[in-house]
């Protein structure tokens, strides 16, 4: 077994939102190249490549059956890829199984604990599995589940179970945490709490790989996102950039004098016009704000109380997963 390189030591991680590529000099935490995984004749993952920087919250989004879970299962060593390569801090999930399992904490999509196992016992058990675990008591406290330490798993609420699941993924003190469909089935408040936990996890220096089909979750949390559909990466960028590329913007404003719909539709890129009270809302693509303001200014209309909302990741998701070129899906579905 190879010893890990020295640069696996965690640096103080600062938040990287705008341009993760600035960190190019550093070895990525995870690098996947041309990953392929078949189940029989079904190609679940069909040439996926991306790398994840240390300290990122990296989202993997896509419709059901897109190959998201299979991809992260290959990273954690739960499945062996048919071809392609995966490097986790320079280690191979297949050849260096034991080392990888110490580095990667996993929260599985479908996984429960034995019903009568108590929360504290589960944490103690998992702590004993790892080389340099965190103190289970501290993990319980940091996830605000100290009070249910003596509760059996079967008596927990959905939100509490998720917290326990996160706690188990963290107690081994991993460098990378893989969280698969973490907030599915949670109520909105529990979801937001869970998001805060993920932020805190990253602030401790853990690289987070978040598999989700909730676009708001990816937008809120992720530094970068890989959108996977039918086993292939359709987009790989910040959520903002992917949303922007899909291209819708929504502008709400009050014009200095009443405007006809026609005048608005004449502006480059405007697709939808809505009105409510004094407010006009236009939705469209391109550099909408600039073209709208300049077009209206040219006809002597000023714009006030302007409010711009980006077309969200949801719009991008729908566009990118619907527009699959036929060649990509040929012979893929059984």
């Amino acid at each position: 077994m190879r010893a890990p390189k020295d640069n696996t030591a965690l640096p103080r991680v600062q938040r990287v939102v705008d341009n993760p590529r600035d960190r190019r000099g550093q070895q990525p935490a995870v690098r996947i190249t041309n990953l392929v995984k078949r189940y029989g004749s079904f190609v679940a993952v069909d040439g996926v490549s991306f790398s994840i920087d240390e300290g990122e919250i990296f989202g993997i989004i896509g419709p059901n059956g897109a190959g998201k879970t299979t991809t992260v299962e290959c990273i954690s060593g739960l499945r062996d890829p048919d071809s392609g390569s995966i490097s986790v801090y320079g280690l191979s999930p297949q050849r260096d199984r034991d080392r990888i399992r110490d580095l990667v904490g996993v929260q599985l999509q479908v996984s429960a604990l034995p019903p009568r196992l108590k929360v504290g016992e589960a944490l103690e058990l998992f702590a004993a599995f790892y080389a340099k675990p965190l103190d289970p008591q501290e993990v319980l406290e940091s996830l605000a589940i100290k009070h249910i330490e003596r509760a059996a798993f079967k008596n927990l609420s959905g939100g509490q179970k998720q917290r326990v699941s996160i706690a188990l993924a963290l107690v081994g003190n991993p460098k990378i945490a893989i969280l698969d469909e973490l907030t599915t089935g949670l109520d909105p408040e529990a979801r937001r709490d869970t998001w805060a936990l993920i932020e805190r996890m990253r602030n401790r220096g853990v690289t987070v790989i978040l598999v989700t089909h909730f676009m708001d979750e990816a937008e809120t949390l992720c530094d970068r996102v890989a959108l996977i559909n039918k086993g292939r990466v359709r987009a790989l960028d910040t959520p903002e950039a992917i949303a922007a590329e899909a291209g819708t913007t929504r502008l709400r404003f009050v014009p200095s004098r009443p405007l006809a719909d026609q005048a608005l539709f004449a502006v480059d890129g405007v697709q939808v016009v809505e009105r409510k009270d004094r407010f006009v809302t236009v939705t469209g693509t391109g550099d909408l704000a600039a073209s709208l303001i300049s077009a209206l200014a040219a006809s002597g209309v000023q714009v006030s109380e302007l409010e711009a909302t980006r077309g969200n990741l949801d719009d991008a998701f729908i566009r990118l997963t619907k527009d699959t070129p036929p060649a990509a899906s040929e012979g893929v579905q059984p």
Partner: protein, 258 residues
């Protein structure tokens, strides 16, 4: 189950196993399928047959043995059957809910959990043996004269065979529901074949032979000879060894962790 380095468990492996042992032991007490059936049922049966034996002792079907003499081995085997058939109840569940898979994301392979569960169950089986032998002789006066070598050999083969059958049901059961059904079937079939309702010596020719060469009956027969200081028939020992190999290989062949 193979230690990762050489033949000696590293300190870390020992710590991992100790933690697993603690948890599985606690769960075995909280989910007392094996405990209740493996210790409780034999204890009750021992009392039932002990009392019957005291009232109507004597020569069962010309065998020269009393009721309690004949039933001590049967009750011991019933304990093994109860413990082994409780394996699917917890292990199939642990597989179905994804617990074994969850374990396999850690540095510990889920086979360690299985190994530790078997250790807990072996301890239960040992306790059951002590209770039944001690109760049978001290309280109900079975004049046992154990041949220690054959006793250990018979018990080891019986446990190996019946536990292998338990693991085979774990391997084959596709779901908890199926496991419960298979378990019930195997449990009562083995109970019958071990002589709970009728002893082989009381049965007619075809049934007696079926029982003697069945997984439960062969185990009871080997132990019966050993507790009366005799060598069990070679065919009985070979029967046990054969079943152990067949069940064992099939269990390994079809075992799934997820």
């Amino acid at each position: 189950m193979t230690p990762s380095q050489g033949g000696v468990l590293s300190r870390r492996s020992r710590a991992q196993l100790a933690a697993l042992l603690k948890v599985q032991a606690k769960l075995s007490i909280r989910e007392p399928y094996a405990l209740g059936l493996g210790i409780g049922l034999p204890a009750i049966l021992l009392v039932v047959f002990g009392v019957i034996s005291k009232k109507a002792a004597g020569n069962v079907a010309g065998s020269g043995l009393t009721v309690i003499d004949l039933y001590v081995p049967t009750v011991i085997v019933i304990s093994f059957i109860s413990i082994a058939t409780s394996l699917p109840t917890t292990l199939v569940r642990d597989r179905e809910i994804g617990w074994l898979r969850r374990i396999s994301t850690t540095p510990v392979h889920p086979s360690r959990l299985l190994a530790v569960q078997l250790i807990v169950d072996l301890a239960l089986a040992a306790a059951a043996i002590v209770i039944v032998i001690a109760g049978g002789t001290a309280i109900f006066g079975a004049p046992l004269n154990v041949n220690i070598l054959f006793f250990i050999l018979s018990l080891a083969l019986a446990i190996a065979e019946i536990f292998a059958l338990g693991l085979l049901t774990v391997a084959l059961a596709p779901s908890q529901t199926a496991a419960t059904a298979i378990r019930g079937l195997v449990f009562f079939a083995l109970l019958f074949l071990s002589g709970l309702w009728i002893q082989p010596v009381q049965a007619g020719a075809p049934l007696r032979d079926i029982m003697w060469y069945s997984p439960g009956g062969a185990a009871a027969r080997a132990i019966l000879y050993a507790v009366f200081h005799q060598a069990p028939p070679v065919t009985t020992l070979l029967t046990l060894a054969g079943y152990t190999l067949v069940f064992g290989f099939a269990a390994v062949r079809y075992f799934r962790w997820e």
